[in-house]
């Protein structure tokens, strides 16, 4: 099994972290993984994205030109990546910032008001984790425990207090995508 994932949004939404958490979770489960950031000369407020591959086989191209899963956290990202999703794939749309509906009929579209749901969890900054919760519910190639282990490592001892809030964000993401 190979899952090719794109996480996209604007700088500050935590899309790079989303990808790193998925790659880390995959690695913890003994899978082959890669995480490739876009590092081009982006404008402030412009788009940021990363490509993640989680596979049972060694990873070939680390680039993702055909995605099984795409997270789009803002409108420019939706415009850029909606067509990248393969037929039968999953598109996770942050409807807090994207008012129009995705036009594709051949993919699973999951719309979440991630900002508002994040606020319920404690802060809008958990919008990315809300999206990961929805992903875990619908098509997770990794387990929730592995993602939480990744968060624990990312936060370290200093910020370990943030873990319960992120757990809530995952739970809310799961509940809201149903």
């Amino acid at each position: 099994m190979t899952q090719r994932i794109i996480c996209s949004g604007f700088g500050g939404q935590g899309v790079m972290l989303m990808g790193q958490l998925l790659a880390y979770a995959g690695m913890m489960e003994g899978k082959f993984v890669s995480w490739l950031p876009s590092y081009g000369p982006e404008m402030r407020g412009g788009t940021a994205n990363c490509s993640v591959i989680i596979s049972d086989e060694p990873v070939g191209a680390p680039t993702v030109t055909e995605a099984d899963v795409a997270f789009v956290m803002n409108k420019p990202s939706m415009e850029k990546f909606e067509d990248t999703v393969v037929s039968g794939g999953h598109l996770f749309v942050n409807s807090s910032l994207i008012d129009e509906t995705a036009s594709r009929q051949d993919i699973d579209i999951h719309q979440l008001a991630a900002t508002e749901i994040g606020i319920q969890a404690g802060t809008a900054r958990t919008a990315n984790i809300v999206m990961l919760g929805a992903y875990l519910e619908k098509c997770g190639a990794v387990s929730e425990a592995s993602v939480m282990a990744g968060l624990k490592k990312a936060f370290g001892e200093k910020k370990a207090g943030l873990l319960p809030m992120n757990q809530t964000a995952i739970d809310l993401g799961r509940q809201n995508v149903k």
Binding site: W35, G60, T63
Partner: protein, 357 residues
């Protein structure tokens, strides 16, 4: 064994430290900045020295000095910065000194852009600086291989007293993959008796890049040529995949080889017998292996992130036996597996057509 999810640049820096690198001199440039950043934190922990020089020229000449004193020393930069270091690299080669230079290639010429490219192939493998010398060039295709090869770079540099380059495109530097840091494979090399570490009553060591008498310069160049031949014989590295029954051979290096591999697998699924030849050393180039496969395959496809540089070495190796096609993207655009697959389909159809005539 524990694996870490780590950026290519950081993996290169950590592996260098584990290989005994204790000195790093550099100057910032994207997309390799995590190397000096990591070294600035890590080297003081192991009693080493990190120094940000005032320029690339200063950095490479600090490398020259540290190498002369027998230290394991490294510098890193990206394309425009590597151009600035070329004079120093030529001097280091002329002074018979070992060092490791990392080039995380960005697009060019000139300042170019910061995105991944392979357009420094000519510069890396055909001299770069002036004079009759060679630089051994390793081209990793994964973060794990980058870590493994940088350790090898130091051994090769010390064994033959040559500058060695690790060349990766921007993707190698920026991407994160799991890495297991292995014990460096030591080659049991001799002490650096030539190093200028103080006479201490013994013979005086002189390190110089000046060979002013023609006969002496001649002898020097021939001695080095013999070393380069030995390197070509013993250090050439290449990986082949799915080549046993291949009719079309794709030749690609670095991360592009992984993109090409996806295309090769897709072509295999479509019934086209393709395989992959991946040079791991770019100099010495695996010419013999490619020449051997020229007897087996119908044609070659070289894929690069340039307008066509390594393809010249592939053509030299094939030596007219079979057609050598080229597909490239340059300027920071990364070729897609689908594009490479389409090229393979075109070639396969062209060959079928030829067979039907």
């Amino acid at each position: 064994m524990t694996r870490e999810l780590i950026k290519g640049n950081e993996a290169i820096a950590e592996a260098a430290v584990r290989a005994g690198c204790r000195y790093f001199f550099g100057y910032p440039i994207t997309p390799q900045n995590e190397i000096p950043e990591y070294m600035s934190k890590r080297l003081p922990e192991v009693g080493g020295t990190y120094l940000q020089a005032e320029s690339e020229l200063a950095a490479i000449n600090m490398v020259y000095g540290a190498a002369g004193a027998g230290a394991r020393v490294m510098t890193s930069s990206s394309s425009p910065g590597i151009s600035l270091k070329q004079e120093g690299i030529s001097y280091i080669a002329s002074a018979k000194l070992p060092c490791v230079i990392v080039n995380i290639v960005r697009s060019g010429p000139g300042l170019g852009g910061i995105l991944p490219a392979q357009s420094d192939y000519f510069q890396a493998t055909k001299g770069g600086g002036h004079g009759d010398y060679r630089v051994v060039v390793f081209a990793p295709s994964s973060v794990q291989e980058a870590a493994d090869l940088v350790m090898e770079c130091f051994e090769v540099a010390d064994q033959y007293r040559v500058p060695v380059m690790l060349m990766g495109d921007g993707m190698i530097g920026q991407m994160m993959e799991p890495v297991e840091f292995k014990e460096p494979k030591k080659r049991g090399l001799h002490e650096k008796s030539w190093a200028t570490t103080g006479r201490q009553g013994g013979e005086r060591n002189v390190i110089s890049s000046l060979h002013i008498v023609a006969e002496e310069c001649y002898d020097f160049c021939l001695e080095r040529e013999a070393v380069y031949r030995e390197i070509a014989e013993k250090e050439t590295r290449c990986e082949t995949e799915l080549m046993d029954d291949a009719e079309i051979a794709v030749v690609a290096y670095g991360t592009v080889a992984r993109i090409a591999k996806n295309a090769v697998l897709k072509a295999r699924a479509a019934g086209i017998k393709t395989g992959l030849i991946r040079p791991i050393t770019l100099w010495p180039f695996p010419s013999d292996i490619i020449n051997d496969y020229a007897k087996q395959v119908n044609s070659f496809l070289t894929v690069e992130m340039s307008t066509g540089q390594m393809v010249e070495d592939v053509r030299l190796a094939v030596n007219g036996q079979k057609p050598v096609h080229f597909f490239g993207r340059t300027g920071g655009i990364i070729p897609t597996p689908e594009e490479v697959f389409n090229e393979l389909m075109k070639m396969a159809e062209g060959e079928k057509h030829e067979n039907n005539l």
